[in-house]
Amino acid sequence: MRGTWLRSIWRPVLTVIVTLGLAVGAVPLTSAQGPVEVLYLSTGTTTSEHAWNVKWINEFNRSRSDIRIKMEEIPWTDLLTKVAAYHAAGIPPDIAWYASSQILEWQTLGLLEPVDEWLGETKKEFMPSILDPKVSDVIFDGKMMGVPFTYVGRNLAVRADVLRAAGINPVTLTTWDGVAKALKASTKPPTRYGTYFPFADALRTAGAAEMYFRGFGLDGIFDVRPAKKADYIKTLQFIKTEVFPSMPPAVVSWRYVDVLQAYVSGLITVHPTGSYLFGELQPSNPEVMNIEKTKNLPWPMVGNSKGILPMYTVGYVMFKASRKKKEAAEVLKFFTRKQSLLEWPMNMVPKTGVTVADRIQVNMFGESMRWYLRDWEQMMRTATLTRRIPYTPSGEVNSIFRDALLKMYQGRVTPEQAYDEISSAVRPLLKYPKY
């Protein structure tokens, strides 16, 4: 009996044991002998960002036999959750992209490794403003917590061809009166509208609204200080009377992709955006990203005829819990060499001594980018550069703001009621800035 039983069972049991053994054994066999793997979380998901990432990762992996970069691409909105999940699992990532709100949130949580010492002398190559603790978004308590790979400016892109056809000179959009007139003149439903709030996307709604709030003297959509209440309501009033009537009704269900399509098709004329617009649109819509059709302008600002350009950086952070800091630092140095940064398809290079000609020579867009970079060079010379102020918890604040703004758009609340709704919900949540 026993013999029969054993005979019937030994095959399946052995199969299971061998399979499990092979699966478990395979991991240490490969990782123990191979190069050190650096886990890199990137949020560069557009076509040109992805291409740039892949090129330099391949280059690095080819040039180093001891280190290998493993990239994971994730959307901005999931970045914190992903980083948290990796930390909770005991396998912290080594490097990740940051923008202003991410670096602030991670720094608040104590997750970041200061990169000063790891960078050594190379940090001196960065623009002084980026390293100035008063204006920088990467310096915390005098320590550099992130390595910028790009310097981003927020601006206004307008469809110059559509405005001209409506009898408006694009440069008049440097004042709020000019913006109001342009919105009115370029709105001819159902094929032409002035601007938008993509209400299905809280992050982008807050991003588009930022222009109005900064331009009316507030720190941002989160600036609900009682002392600023009148300015906040005035901004909402401007949005209600001048902006809402120029928006297509479909904005209620719009996301960012709809915004881009609307801008490209000429459905909307005024697009509060950033210096990344060229890299975003050029690969798919070069017919719109040219000097005839797109004009870049700084944001209008009450009492400042030059306008403002809120600036921030996007770059890399290294995590304190990383077990491969030495290797991660090698990757950071490689990724932030002037050579790789010159090829970055978007925004400005955060290093000193870079000219438009330098970028044209090596950038993937070549000559077609010259007018765009020149626009930016000129704007940065003439407008007032200011720091984009990050806030946390950005996801929840953006959502509260979007909900109130949408209610105002639907006529369910007045600007005063919208302010009350936003301020009462946002003030107890704000971890930074503390108002």
């Binding site: 039983w5 269900s253 709809d258 459905l267 918890p393 909900d403």
Partner: protein, 308 residues
Amino acid sequence: MLAKARPAAPAVGRVRSRRQQDDLVGRLLLLPALGVLAVVVGYPFLRGIQWSFTDFYLLKGLTDWNFIGLGNYVKFFQDPKTPPFLLNSFKWVAASLALQFTLGLTLALLLNRPMRFRAVYRALVLIPWVTPTVVGALIWRWILHEQWGVVNLWLMRLGVVGEPIQWLSDSTLVWISLLVMAAWRFVPFWYVNILAGLQTIPREMYDAAAIDGAGRIGSFWHITLPFLRPVLGVLFLLETVWRANEFSTIWVMTEGGPAGATTTLAILTYQTGFLFHRIGYAASMGVSLTIMLSFFAWYYLRRVRMEA
């Protein structure tokens, strides 16, 4: 007889012992799968329950949380925003099931009849079911897009409407859009199961009923539906649970909008946990949904058993 029966006893014992061996082998072979399930389902489930009693908030700390008892549950059920979201979940599940059952049954009855190219039609109907949900939802989003969607384009070209219909921006129309998309995607599953059920009904039943003077409707009520009851029972149970947990369709189509009009409990849980990083509170929502669905399943199965 007795003399003949005696030698049979060891044979019965052998059969029993053989069965026990097979049973043991079967259990052993299940172990790896159970192990994987314990890791990827059991552990996260228990962890979720644990977190639902904590104030775990990612922006406070990745491992820094305190037990707060039933605090999250009390907050959830006292929040004035909760009833509308629960109502949305109920509306979504009830309307989806009603529409999908009706269409699935109709299709199955149609394609159960002899006709030319029946196999082709049967295969075509399954296409939405094999299309990934996200892909299907994105396609429908474009079809119904107010500005560039093909539905509005044709309605305007044909002069049916003068201006674009706000399929995804109007808080009533958005439900119709969602339900149509969900029906397109999930009706094939109903259809294929009901069709399988229909094919188990003996033809003689209908012949006998016809001889007794039963009409088509009478046969449907007294033969088809009773025979389909076990299949429909399983379908309603599974679909209720799946629709209540539905995330991809709603998220891709509307992200819970406009203004929370299509935010169901599943969407709210995702937003709270993954966008606002309030893990403890989101876990309590997920656990509440599980409890509600478990209660429903228990009640439903009990009714079915009692009726049987």
